[in-house]
């Protein structure tokens, strides 16, 4: 079994930690990787990761989580194949039991993880000495924020609205 220390060492040595995901992902994913009908990129397990992380990332309760999942999915579908591949590795890594436990440091499955543990995971990756983990955090941050604040449902709480003098004139 690979220890966290070994994984981090490989990362430090300059090899891509996320590449380990391919190899880790096969034996024991948390959930079967059946893709949900209406999603293009995200698989069932990925969607759960977003659902669990979004309230902690955004610091808000009562979010329209399915809208956020869809927003993330659409955002990823519009990215370059090369970038999608990296995100696939990230989600595979997080979705894998070992990756979640040892790299993310989240002990319960995503659906059951406590907010405090999820926040600790985000903080660890945000502040990690490893560039790669920081970039993993930044990817999750960008996707979840884009999905929520790109959605007009989020605007009232911000006190934001589009300029009324023109909206009525648009086709």
């Amino acid at each position: 079994m690979i220890t966290r220390r070994q994984l981090i060492k490989t990362g430090m040595a300059g090899s891509v930690v996320l590449l380990a995901a391919g190899f880790l992902a096969s034996p024991q994913p948390d959930l079967p990787a059946a893709s949900q009908g209406h999603l293009v990129f995200l698989q069932t397990g990925d969607a759960q990761i977003i659902r669990s992380l979004a309230p902690v990332m955004l610091g808000m309760a009562g979010l329209a989580l399915e809208d956020i999942v869809r927003g993330v999915d659409v955002a990823i579908a519009n990215l370059l194949p090369a970038v999608q591949q990296e995100l696939r590795q990230l989600f595979d890594l997080l979705g894998n039991r070992w990756g979640r436990r040892w790299l993310a440091g989240v002990h319960s499955p995503w659906a059951q993880a406590a907010a405090i543990d999820l926040a600790a995971f985000l903080r660890r990756w945000q502040q990690s000495p490893l560039l790669l983990l920081r970039s993993g955090y930044q990817a999750l941050h960008a996707l979840i924020n884009a999905a929520w604040f790109g959605n007009p449902a989020s605007w009232t709480a911000l006190g934001y609205q589009q300029p009324q003098q023109i909206m009525g004139l648009l086709p």
């Binding site: 924020n145 604040f149 934001y160």
Partner: protein
Amino acid sequence: MSLPDPVAEGVASGWRVLDGAAQTQDLQLSCDVLIIGTGAGGGMTAEVLAEAGLDVLMVEEGALRTSRDFRLLEAKAYPELYQESASRKTADKAINILQGRTVGGSTTVNWTSAFRTPAETLNWWGERYGLKSLNPQTMAPWFDLAEARLGIADWQTDPNPNNSVLERGCQALGLKHGRIRRNVRGCWNLGYCGMGCATNAKQSMLVTTIPGALQHKAGLLTRARVERLLPAADGKSLLGAEGRLLAADGHSLNGQQFSIKARHVVLAAGAIGSPAILLRSQLGGAQVGKRTFLHPVVVSGAVMPQRIEAYNGAPQTVYSDHFMHTQPLDGPLGYKLEVPPVHPLLMGVTLSGFGAGSAGLMQQLPHLQVVLALLRDGFHPDSQGGQVRLRQDGSPELDYPLNDVLWDGVRRSWLTMAELQFAAGARQVQVLHEQADLQSSWKAARAQIMQLPLKPLLARVVSAHVMGGAAMSSQPEEGVVDEYGRHWQLRNLSVIDGSVFPTSIGANPQLSIYAFALRAAHHLRDALNS
């Protein structure tokens, strides 16, 4: 009443426009001049050459979107109008790059700030790179011409509150500052330039030179990605270029290819884009892709007591070049101060932190004021910019390492911005860094900024100004093209876009590109018509 869409009307009236996504067969085309990319460089060149009676064909990777598609909606605009949905990143992901990818290129989404190339930059090119004929006097008529064509003029309306804070802060600290000229005609002062201008007030290439070229019988092929240039057997010239057509989603392939024969090829795919095509064509040469500059930008947010609504009003109308002149041009990096427009999606993505802290800031969006500092890269000996390289699948990636000389500029400019925001009455200030939080006094902010670790992906760094990578030079071995954008080795290839600059510009680059493009295009026109 609904708003007019002259470009859509032009297309309906029979302009020669082909949508790559609609093609069911491979395309074989020919023309006098093939222009690859329709941004600042490509648009200007197309009009000059088409007006001279040359048979011009423009090829653009993005789609043709016109004012009726511009709905002031970030979630629609970014995937449709920007490279990589506005999330293009440098190789280590430390810098987020905004570039356009639509007819009109970055000019369709830019913020309409217009500056002539600073005299000190032109003079430096003369001294350092032997580009002596590009001095402020010889360039002046080209700036005049570009300004006249695009309605570039003083902006008479008052700055919006976001810009006013910058102005007040400069006044309080005694920093030299000024008002920004804009390329607009009949602007509604809305502030949504970054999502495409719904009123067609912005004088982007989409509504000026490209229609101008199309009216003179130029052709336009959209959703068509040039993969490579086709060298002739002699190795000294090109036959044309070839590539793939994209599907209606704008990124997957539609299965058809195109190939275009041309007497002359103009590469105008922008910085990153043009070097990438040269690299894919194996027409590298030692300098291609090197010294690509970004004006790396760092950001500071302030909570103001009054409403700012930085999403409303012309985005950039006030600037300060004070710190461009406090040290030698090739000394510690100078920086230009401006403000960005602030809309929810981009702000949410750009803010540092997560959870309750960032939620609290987002909920004060109407009171949020944001200042940015553009670092002038490419002059200091340690500021060599980045290098464009190709991924395995041929897509380009910019490797731009952040080094000490840049970090030094980052910290100095954070300090300036925070001090300025407090001087203008900010209640709280936070520079965008993953270890920074809101500070309630200049003293506390300074203490925090002084100890923030300067590391990629802790400090937020962004860019909307990609320049260089196919530099002009006075000697063939030192660059890629000459001062008219003519390729040093290939007789019938010109590069006419932001990639020809040997350093960064030190000001928002659009007007520099317009003027250089006009100069290069007139020269090319005369050569082709003689």
